[in-house]
Symmetry: C2
Subunit: 477 residues, 2 copies
Amino acid sequence: MTIHATPMIVERLAAIVGARHVIGPDGDQEPYLVDWRGRYRGTAEAIVKPASTAEVAGVVKLCAELGFAIVPQGGNTGMCGAATPLNGRPNVVLRLDRMNTIRAISRLGDSIAVDAGCILADVQKAAESADRLFPLSLGAEGSCQIGGNLSTNAGGTAVLRYGTARELTLGIEAVLPDGSMLDLMTSLRKDSTGVDLKQLFIGAEGTLGIITGAVLKLFPRPRQRSVALAKAEDIEAVLDLLALARTELGDRLGAFEVMSRGQVEVIAEHVPHVAIPFALDAPWFVLIELVDTLRGIDLSAEMEAMLASAFERGLIGDALVASSEAQAAALWTIRHSVSEGSKRAGYVVSHDSAVPLEHQAEFVRRVEARIAALRPEARIVMHGHLGDGNIHVLAILPGIAADQRETLAPIVSAINRAVDEETAALGGSISAEHGIGIANKERLNHVTAPREMALLRQVKGLLDPRGLMNPGKVLSD
Amino acid sequence: MTIHATPMIVERLAAIVGARHVIGPDGDQEPYLVDWRGRYRGTAEAIVKPASTAEVAGVVKLCAELGFAIVPQGGNTGMCGAATPLNGRPNVVLRLDRMNTIRAISRLGDSIAVDAGCILADVQKAAESADRLFPLSLGAEGSCQIGGNLSTNAGGTAVLRYGTARELTLGIEAVLPDGSMLDLMTSLRKDSTGVDLKQLFIGAEGTLGIITGAVLKLFPRPRQRSVALAKAEDIEAVLDLLALARTELGDRLGAFEVMSRGQVEVIAEHVPHVAIPFALDAPWFVLIELVDTLRGIDLSAEMEAMLASAFERGLIGDALVASSEAQAAALWTIRHSVSEGSKRAGYVVSHDSAVPLEHQAEFVRRVEARIAALRPEARIVMHGHLGDGNIHVLAILPGIAADQRETLAPIVSAINRAVDEETAALGGSISAEHGIGIANKERLNHVTAPREMALLRQVKGLLDPRGLMNPGKVLSD
């Protein structure tokens, strides 16, 4: 039985969450129907903002009863349209904003329990106020929500040292597609009691249920850091530098980020307020951060010794070790300006590949050649979290506006196909940290082994047999 | 269609793996039919030892065709009977011994790819030979196999610093109950492409498929360590000491192990060759290990400073910092002698609880009182990886032999029930690192929420609808 009646659902949703927290077709739904980059757009019968797990369950039960699909939406900062409704069936966008309570924090257990709607930066701050670190860190941290971070298994700049969102999660609470609640809110570090059910919801982008809460790991806070920028002649040298840094400095290596010369040039040209305190006289620039939880060690000296050793081996040319916190922050500002700079330089066809480090050099060379052959006018630049094998390859197309959809579609598709082919051939992943959503579902289907794809569909069929949870995302039709 | 014919299956298995690698009912099956503690025993139509993933798939397909169950068995070192056949249906024990190749090791990517039958100690050694650390470490490491470690999400002494087997796993390869192969042998650190299917097999104890290979994380090798033993008056002080150590020393804290006075006394009485270089004049003894990947820091000084601070705060009494590697090893020998000592002291009813650290003190007090009320003659001792919340509570029953099954059954059951009730009431897990197997399946069913239990059964039904994989394990009938 499937009944779709907009006025009725608005009224019945209001009975669960209160009329103020439902936006029907006559209200201002706009911010919830389009992703922040303006690339995906849909419609919804209603936007609903429950305030508790019980209310989420009530909304899901109602939608199941009436046959409405549900699109969970956190901070709406995703890159792949996973939180934007896809037209085709009547749906409700479920926002988690009002579920933004820090439920508990344990210094002793090094854990924090939060509502799924907590903003990432607020979780970081809560940890800091308990003299602990929650290490997940990414560009959107001021507005993305932790439930969305878990749903896409978010990465960011601290994965090398602390792992992805999955590895930072001890427990979750979720509402299943039938409206039942799964309480797995444990803070335990060790638990060997069969299959770990929480894993089904991490990375599932809301297609198997809605994460409503999470228990996350905290860490001792770093007391000092040392930041340096080094120049390298080729990607092989950058990789050798990474291996040297890991061997010499161990887990003090907190970040190992790379930018191609073209990437830094784009920033220099288009983000003039960002100072570049070094000459652009090398093909690759590496940003290295060391962190330590003790003060009683001279981190800058350790950094300098490692860089001196790298210089002697011919791995790097110049290097610059920040002599103050301000200098360190300035170097990071360059790294954080890559998106802004690239966006201003043209239409960006960006990729989020991860490739095993052994094949990283081959990958860089191959994709550069493939894109250049396809679009000689493209400016090909790269940046990424090389320490994690995650390099973002960007083809910047000058002189094409984002609304020239018909012109863009075949170009984007051809570039994506070339990059995906090289990624898959080298044992990589087409989405290291951005997810699948709408954007990458056909690409995922194309590069994934049939048995694996079948199992993903089986799991979806098991948990959501009616296909009500975030339809049209992750799995292609 | 179900056909059970022993001579036929022996012959057909031989056609897949070679006659030398099948042990029929006339051969010496004994070592494979009983667990190492002699607590579980079953029968099998055949023991089969495939040499490759393709052979495993062949065996599974054959068993599926003929309706035989399959019991995967690694090193047969488990504590819960998960690898021992359970009588009731004809089955084949599948040993992974011959799949013991280190497939690849990457210093650059900090990963190692191994066959599931590799012995844990051999994986550690291979990592060491590449100047890296594979941190999983537990008592049975000289004979347990990595496939078994992953199948039980093994813990051990390094979880505080490096995580459980699950967190050390990047990729796996598995043969599914229908004989198809799932190749998820990735070494990537970041991958955001939907549900992480490998998680279904980690901790599943072979009930959803057979893990045949794995890619594991490696770490920079520690270059030095400092080991100390401290005495504390109560468990609250021990917990405060843990919080202090984490705050002051950060991730240098590699292990934080605790033993009750009774536990050390048991060792002193029954393992005379182990020297106890301190007086047994406190209720609790804490073994602390700091590790560092750099040499350029005085770890012992850091340890002493932290202990001095703990002493000033009244958290600890005496403390002893090992002044040589030999002294450090001697302190660890005491910790490693707990099982031997306890076994010689009587029949051991042991528990593997994890409890959130906030409730650890309450837990210790409550279980001590409950067991004492049930069995006044029991010697109640404790040891554990307190840093992970994992404390092993042992009730040692003097004067009862292991073969007095009828006497033992009601006693063991009553003690288990009491400990499980307190564990569950305080938000803990009844199995932190040993698994479920046969031993704990009724207990798991008893303490787990119905929705969670139902989902575990649904997942089992999805992957293994005919119930051929390791029947009678994890899930109660």
